[in-house]
Symmetry: C2
Subunit: 296 residues, 2 copies
């Protein structure tokens, strides 16, 4: 018994006329008669009574009609569900993002567009630092990562979403907090530093180290912390200075002042990272929309 057989039977049961049913099915009448006959033989019972040039359903046929319709409807539904997932109109999209990402308008705007265009996709946002996005991306637990620059395994691919300057984070009461003018990394490095611990897993730490090392500077770290909000709080309390991407300017805290950095290479990026192959359609659509948001 195949779905085709059921479709044929339902057509005959609905038309109660082999020739019309065959026409509706787009086949000729003889094979239809044969298929129904074969179905009855397989089931071991009559489904239709052909008598007095009239076709009628038996009791078994009535029952089987209901069941057949149900089976066909479920099969149809299964097919549609998967098709929708396959076309990215449904299913799931799991995105990892770092703390700083929601501070820029790009991600919120993209999410809004995506949700409008694909309202049936179950969108799951996971706040994770850059390092902690890598394994989930490799293992298929995350479809897309939005992160700071990091060294990626070859299975992952990335492109830059945002380029932004770094800014000095200084206490407003301190010496450096007296002005808003650009500051050099060298000047900043004279102060005690508050920064991420390696365990925080952010790509910013690597950048930070490289920037100062290139200039032969070794800032004195007075406190290693886990997240950017802690950095800003500790700067507010006067513990030291720090260096963060410009996005964090959006965080206004008393006694904290942001000053531009005059060094041209003191810049950071936000990456969109994804498995190099095996991109889900949902992820493809999301990337499409991000790119439109950047371009437009």
């Amino acid at each position: 018994m195949e779905l085709r057989t059921l479709r044929y039977f339902v057509a005959v049961a609905e038309e109660l006329h082999f020739s019309r049913a065959a026409a509706r099915l787009g086949i000729s009448q003889p094979p239809l008669s044969q298929q129904i006959k074969a179905l009855e033989e397989e089931l071991g019972g009559r489904l239709l009574v052909r008598t007095n040039r009239r076709v009628a359903l038996t009791a078994a046929g009535e029952l089987f009609l209901d069941e057949a319709r149900e089976v066909l409807a479920r099969a149809e539904r299964a097919s549609r569900l998967v098709s929708r997932i396959g076309r990215g109109e449904s299913g799931q999209l799991r995105i990892g993002f770092t703390t700083s990402v929601p501070l820029t308008p790009l991600l919120p705007r993209t999410l809004t567009h995506y949700r409008q265009r694909y309202p049936d996709v179950d969108l799951r946002m996971h706040e994770l630092n850059s390092q902690r996005q890598i394994n989930p991306l490799l293992e298929g637990d995350l479809d897309i990562g939005i992160m700071r620059p990091a060294t990626l395994p070859p299975e992952l691919s990335a492109f830059t979403l945002i380029r932004e300057p770094l800014v000095a984070v200084v206490n407003a009461q301190s010496e450096l907090g007296a002005s808003d003018t650009p500051l050099s990394l060298a000047e900043l490095a004279t102060q005690p530093f508050v920064y991420f611990s390696p365990a925080a897993g952010t790509g910013l730490l690597d950048q930070f180290n490289v920037l100062f090392a290139q200039r032969g500077l070794t800032p004195r770290l007075v406190q290693e912390v886990g997240g950017p909000n802690t950095i800003i709080s500790l700067v507010a309390s006067g513990l030291g200075v720090s260096l963060l991407p410009e996005s964090f300017r959006h965080i206004h805290i008393d006694n904290v002042r942001y000053r531009p950095i005059s060094d041209a290479d003191a810049r950071s990026e936000v990456w969109l990272t994804h498995p190099r192959h095996h991109l889900t359609p949902q992820a493809q659509h999301f990337i499409q929309i991000v790119c439109e948001a950047i371009a437009g």
Copy 2:
């Protein structure tokens, strides 16, 4: 998409191994791979990830697995339901019977056996006089009729279940009620008669008329009634005598006495009647069991 495709997919999803799944399905591996590939193309989405020599289900695949199992289970169920009806193990059996039939042990015994052997058949008993069984039998509203002799249209076929003598029904207080010895039809015909009206539709009336006519007798009908119980009641009240099959001896009513008839041809029959063709399996089984009960 066909049920075969779903069976193949479920096998692969359960084994997570194409070769093993193919072995389980009794086909070779290449066609299985092709079928799954074709299924994915038809659905427009990946169901399985073949990576690192390991096969895994995608999210869509997980969903489709559930759906496919459901569809297969329902198809299986539909098939089993109809098979059971086709084999007569389930479904419906509608039997018509006349008032006198339950008085003999044959029908109750047969019904008990039938119910034991086919407990899932929905057995519907309809008390109907012989005439009123004919149309339902012709139109398929009744599968089997158990009735008194009647003239049947050619589409119906019948055989005799029971042969029994007729007995005189007399009032115990009356002249004829004084003895239990056999009585002749001629003697009985001297008395006022209580009998069925033609509208009652019983085959007994025809027999009654023939029996007396053959002997040149014309009993005086004092009352025409609709059913045998009324006959016996009226005989009990002294209105007249009557003539009924021996089965009615089982009805014991004060002041009613049954006396044998000495005429050898004063006998009646109970027929099992059914459509000559189109016997349902349920009806066939019932007839089988009736015949066993008669033989045994």
